[in-house]
Symmetry: C2
Subunit: 408 residues, 2 copies
Amino acid sequence: MTGQNGFTIALDGSVTTPKGFRAGGVHCGIKKVQRFDLGAIVCDVPADVAAVFTTNVVIAAPLTVTKESIAKEGKLQAMLVNSGNANACTGEQGDKDARDMRATFAEALGVPEHYVGVTSTGVIGVPMPMEKLYRGIPELRTKLSTEGGDDFCQAIMTTDLVQKSICVTLTVDGKQVSVAGAAKGSGMIHPNMATMLGFMTTDAALQPGCLQSLLSHATDVTFNMITVDGDTSTNDMVVAMASGLAGNEPLGPNHPDWESFSAAFRHVAETLAKEIARDGEGATKLIEVNVVGASTDYDARTIAKTIVGSNLVKSAVYGSDANWGRIIAAAGRAGVPMNPNTVDIRLGDIAVLRQSAPVAFDEPAAKAYLDGNEVTIHVDLHGGAGKATAWGCDLTYDYVKINASYRT
Amino acid sequence: MTGQNGFTIALDGSVTTPKGFRAGGVHCGIKKVQRFDLGAIVCDVPADVAAVFTTNVVIAAPLTVTKESIAKEGKLQAMLVNSGNANACTGEQGDKDARDMRATFAEALGVPEHYVGVTSTGVIGVPMPMEKLYRGIPELRTKLSTEGGDDFCQAIMTTDLVQKSICVTLTVDGKQVSVAGAAKGSGMIHPNMATMLGFMTTDAALQPGCLQSLLSHATDVTFNMITVDGDTSTNDMVVAMASGLAGNEPLGPNHPDWESFSAAFRHVAETLAKEIARDGEGATKLIEVNVVGASTDYDARTIAKTIVGSNLVKSAVYGSDANWGRIIAAAGRAGVPMNPNTVDIRLGDIAVLRQSAPVAFDEPAAKAYLDGNEVTIHVDLHGGAGKATAWGCDLTYDYVKINASYRT
């Protein structure tokens, strides 16, 4: 498939498509059900690494350990992930368990501990069943392959309904470069919170610091612009690994292919982010909110996230109710300056508010549009050049059902 | 009934119990159903007035008009309220309509326009049906009486399930003083958002500025500490009127009875606020969150409101799930500093987390407690003297049902 911005979407690609990467998944028994619950991405060489972590002040043990690994050399050769237990709020034992996970996998791979990162997702406040991991890690070691991308996606899922993976390819210095990603989203019945995990791989070579700046910027406008229920997990993390095996000249802002590589990298992040929102707990629709005309991009982001996070807006979209009053009210309470008298709102192509005055619109047409599985809300504040896009999902009976159900 | 802090709860009292106040309600046809939709509280004399308004940048026309009335002399003799139409996002016509409502009621009462305040709650973006108001206002005028407190409560309700009213009495300078209040909360099927309206009356005399400082302080710890769905209405308002007819020496911080009057005033505000939370859309339980040990009261308030506003916490309470992980996670994302390693959490008297470590607790006992219609969550951060209490309600299927339903 020919893509935009000079990159191509590799429909059969995965996190193992970039040169040097292998992956896999196994069932070691953390999940009661017979589904993969332990997975890893490994690289043949120490890969440049960039990462972003949850802003929650309550941080799960594996994140702390992974931060330490990355801090040492800025390189990782393996990311170990388990689902079914978040190893969060588990005290000193949790910290020790996260370190033992790292040490055990490092030994199995024959690499230094600080080349290994670990992350967990699942129920919090429950000690990690280490004996299961000690059994599972050697088995996982034997399953790692360039065919293991799907198994890895399975291993990081909790109650996600669909796998989330994407791979794009582009040409840099005449060499083929791949950028791929896998993610898990918010759909957990048993655990105590939704967790967003993202893993990106590329075989591109990058100049020092460029991978982190690229990931940080991409995260601001993709992963950080989605909300399912406004609750920030203790375990959220996105990690990007670059093997540098594509043979290109190291990429940086001064490289002629930087723009197209940046676009490809961002496309991977945005695709994963939207997939997470679309597959939010109980969701039936993906909601995209585009805000333009704000004083600054920051203000636009704040307003877009407030709108897409509003229970009233989310409920209205679920009910296919062209309820623009909730949209302007959410914008008004976002806490950033805006002129309440110059607001335009469109639902898809249907104008419902112009200069803050109601516009007579075709209700059946609006309902038909809102009945679709992708709803885009356009808001123009006519107050500046600031713009942003946020993604979320509708609020449904199933969201309540999922989250009201008992842990046991 | 003997009350706390030297005041007594007058079980048969209402907003008309304080000397000088009359009230009433009529059906003028704004609501399709045969229920009161127009009401007023009037005072025999120009009453000292204090008011707090929504922080939403999008402000409904009647609030602007009421602000102007109060700004002129700081006195009001009447508050006119309609339900069924919020007169919000109605442009210049809405502003004109709000002024016409004020002028028409002022003429009917024979008082200056700036002694009249108006407020509206209901659907937004729809022009006010003024002809119905022109018919209803003269009728309402004839219905005002000292027996009209209940009718007023009916007139301000939308889909509130219960009336919200309270009256307390105390002795000041040997004189009986009454403080009363009525409120409507968030339970609207047809309108586009929930609106909180509060009305307080007292016959106490107060020193200049004391009523506003009392109301502002009380609002910070009562009305501003409740959340149903985190959406701030364009129409929220609380108004307090003091007739000064009790015959007491004007109350102020230097008055010997100031503390007991403040306590009575705050009790009225807190009772109304809790009733609003308890009667939130679709709610089956009142949730109270007590946070202590924060660095400051401000931090404690932020954390308490974040916890009580968390969809995951609200859903867990609905499901009677002792899901403390969601509570500490919500605290952690509140955006204020806290030590994640020293957190205690109790559900009622049941300790579930101590120093951020899980405590083995009796699950059936916890479920039995959470099955009650009032759930109190205690959080001790062990980080300072800051404390706060917030109130909210559980997130239920009915919340989604109510808010997903069509406007028409």
